[in-house]
Symmetry: C2
DNA sequence: CCTTGACCTCAAGTCGACTTTAAGTCGTAC
DNA sequence: GTACGACTTAAAGTCGACTTGAGGTCAAGG
């Protein structure tokens, strides 16, 4: 497969694929002239990278976990930590979502007087979240 | 309250508070010498900003929604859209969390042969998420 | 053969949300 | 009255993950 094919199948732009290769996250199996040639299993690897990104790992983390070759260096404790972190994030996002729905529904001029909203506000606003959408 | 007090109560560094003021997200009520003086209700406003950030709004979005003064320009449809977006994000993060727990638990050398994992992989890797941890 | 357009490289630019730095001001405790 | 430390400003720097731009190569189709 050439890079355009991988781009189409993975949904990632070619520039990203080149960037990932430069970072050592994926590898091309060779060249046809100066053009990269990829093996089909790069798609699987890109899916794993996507999983890692969604989980909130940095590309460097992911590179370390996936290793230069197959899938060796997976620290199970690290994965479980991240899973717990995701649980906390999910809770926070759930509170935030409820806060938004409440704010949209409740037509009081000041939400600040509503105890429900104030409680959700505290839950949603605290904690170190990066962004989710 | 001076800026240090607001920083302590809000948990935000003074530099962030100055930055927010420059962006028009908060306002100081005056100066004592050259030092800013804040009204206590800035804390409430900061909590709202935190809610917005957690929900994934940009600071510019938040500035528009909160308006220069109290809390006028709230577009309910926008809030509901964001709530729906959060629902999708929550689903994706839930799938990702399950994927991580599966990967940590299952000791098979290749997760790729496990249909459960492959399914979660697809769910978790697709879609445009920014990061969550 | 020759054009064309998809691919290439490398360096620099972008984006959002802050943080850091350098140089300066000033209220307060001694 | 003076030293100190907390505050001030404006501008520049940071971080991660890419994207963009300029200038070049080359495989394939006509």
């Amino acid at each position: 497969m050439d890079i355009a094919e991988v781009a189409k199948r993975s949904g990632l732009p070619a520039s990203t694929l080149r960037f990932y290769e430069e970072k050592g996250l994926i590898r091309s199996i060779g060249r046809h002239g100066l053009r990269r040639v990829f093996n089909a299993n790069v798609l699987e690897r890109l899916a794993l990278i996507g999983l890692g990104r969604t989980a909130g790992f940095s590309l460097d983390d992911i590179g370390r976990m996936l290793g230069p070759k197959g899938s060796p260096n997976i620290d199970r404790a690290l994965l479980l930590n991240k899973a717990d972190e995701l649980d906390r994030t999910i809770q926070q996002l759930t509170a935030t979502r409820d806060g938004l729905r409440h704010a949209a529904a409740c037509s009081a001029p000041s939400h600040m007087e509503c105890p429900t909203f104030r409680r959700l506000l505290g839950l949603a606003a605290s904690g170190g979240l990066k962004g989710a959408g």
